[in-house]
Structures are given as structure tokens and as C-alpha cells.
Symmetry: C2
Subunit: 123 residues, 2 copies
Amino acid sequence: MAEVPRRGPYICGIDAAFDVVSGKWKGLILWELDAHGVRRFSELRRGLPGVSEKMLTQHLREMEADGLVHREVYAEVPPRVEYSLTEHGHTLNKALEPLGAWGIERMGREGSERAVVVETPHG
Amino acid sequence: MAEVPRRGPYICGIDAAFDVVSGKWKGLILWELDAHGVRRFSELRRGLPGVSEKMLTQHLREMEADGLVHREVYAEVPPRVEYSLTEHGHTLNKALEPLGAWGIERMGREGSERAVVVETPHG
DNA sequence: TCGCTCCCTTACTAAAAGGTAAGTACCGCA
DNA sequence: TGCGGTACTTACCTTTTAGTAAGGGAGCGA
């Protein structure tokens, strides 16, 4: 239901890549899986402070359908599911690195040029 | 009004960078301005098929506030406004290049693996 | 037996993003 | 006098995205 067809005719590569990483937590999921290699559902949940179970499931399903993550289900009785990055997920993460570096530079610029207070709102 | 505070405490650089490029047309605007150097409002509108005036204005304003585009207004009588990328806009575009390349590869994979037709709908 | 953990699913609701359409002020052209 | 072009702004509505809350089935400790 919530599954939109997506994968429409893309105008450029950015467009196609954004289609796959747009979503509030997808970047973080990618990061977590890259940093830890393999993670269980509940581990991811704890690693992404504030994510709801619904969104985590939904994003993981979409990323699985997009070939970014691998989902391994163990037919045990306390159910166990392990998530890891596929090769495409790893290359995507690599491709995101320069963007992350740009973002970090930007955070530094904001802090120095505009002296934006990001801490406690009424401190 | 539509201006959300944004610039919240970011978790990582990707987060900060995404805050700045998330928006249906921002990637394309960046691309257009990078390709042409300087563009007028109506030129951008024609270059982004399907964009509404409202969205184009809104995105350009946000990108200006984020220090990505420069806006030059000429006090002429048919009003003339020219947009161009700032240096930060250029570096952002550079940082997006690997992601674009990844997206293009992905489009190729989809085309071969799933045989999705992405070409001109009616010739 | 109760409640806890695990990994989800479903329904409902709120917020954000985006689209449509109209209005603004000025000019040149026919 | 009316139309089109320029660069927007505003109001209203729809779509998309995300959050909240609840349930489900099975084992395990108290």
C-alpha cells in the first residue's frame, strides 16, 4: 500500500540515488550497518535514537527491495533477523562519503560564521 | 511561513548535507546552475520541466539562505534576476558527483537486470 | 498465569512537502 | 484596450511521509 512504484524515469544519476536514500533514517541505517557489519533489528533500533519500529521496518524493506541490504532470517524460536549491507550498499556508502565530508565542513562553517546556537533552546 | 527552522543538531555530515539538498528540484537546480553558470528565473523554469513557480522560488530562497546560490537583482523595468552558484554550491556539486555516478550505475543495473524501460515515453 | 522479549503488522493521525490557481506591478506591442 | 512577458506572492488543497498506539505468537523467568 505505502509502496509507491518509484524507480520512475530518472533525469540524472543524482535523481536515481536520491530515490534510494531519501527517508528520514536511511542514511543512518547505511552508516550503522557499514560500521558494525551485521546488526539485528533491535540493535538497529537502539542505534537510531527516536526511530519507530514501523519506520525501521519500512525503511529496511525498501532498502532490501533496492538491493542495498541483505536480510537473513533464522527460524529460531525467539526470532532472529540479521541485516547487513550488500555490495551495492557498500558502494553507495562510499559514494556518500564526499557528501558527508561536505556536510561536516558546512557544520563547521555555520558554527563559526553565523554563530548559530544549536544547543538548549532557552538556555 | 513555510520556513522551518531546520539546521537542527545534526547526527553526521550526511544529515547536514541532506538538509540542504532535500527538495524535489534542488539537485536539478544545482545541476542547471553548474552547467550554465548563470540563469534567469524563467530560464531555470524552462530547464526544469514540471516545476511550479512557487516551488522554484521557494527552493531558490532556501538555497540562497543556505549559501549555495547567489541572487542578483537588476532594478530594470522588465524585472531581471540572475542566479548562480556560490563557491559552496560548486563544492557541493563536486561532492555529489560520486553519488550521481553511483545512481547512473544503478540505472544501468536496473535496465539490465529487470529490463525497466526508462526512455522517452512517446518517441 | 503474568508479563517480558523478539520482529514485525495494521490502523489511525499529524505534519511536511508539493501542486494549482489566482493576484501583483510594470512595460511593450498590436 | 487587451495580451503577453517578467518575477514573484498568497491562499487553498492534495499527496506523501512520519509518528503513535495497539496487536500477534511463541518461549522463558517469576
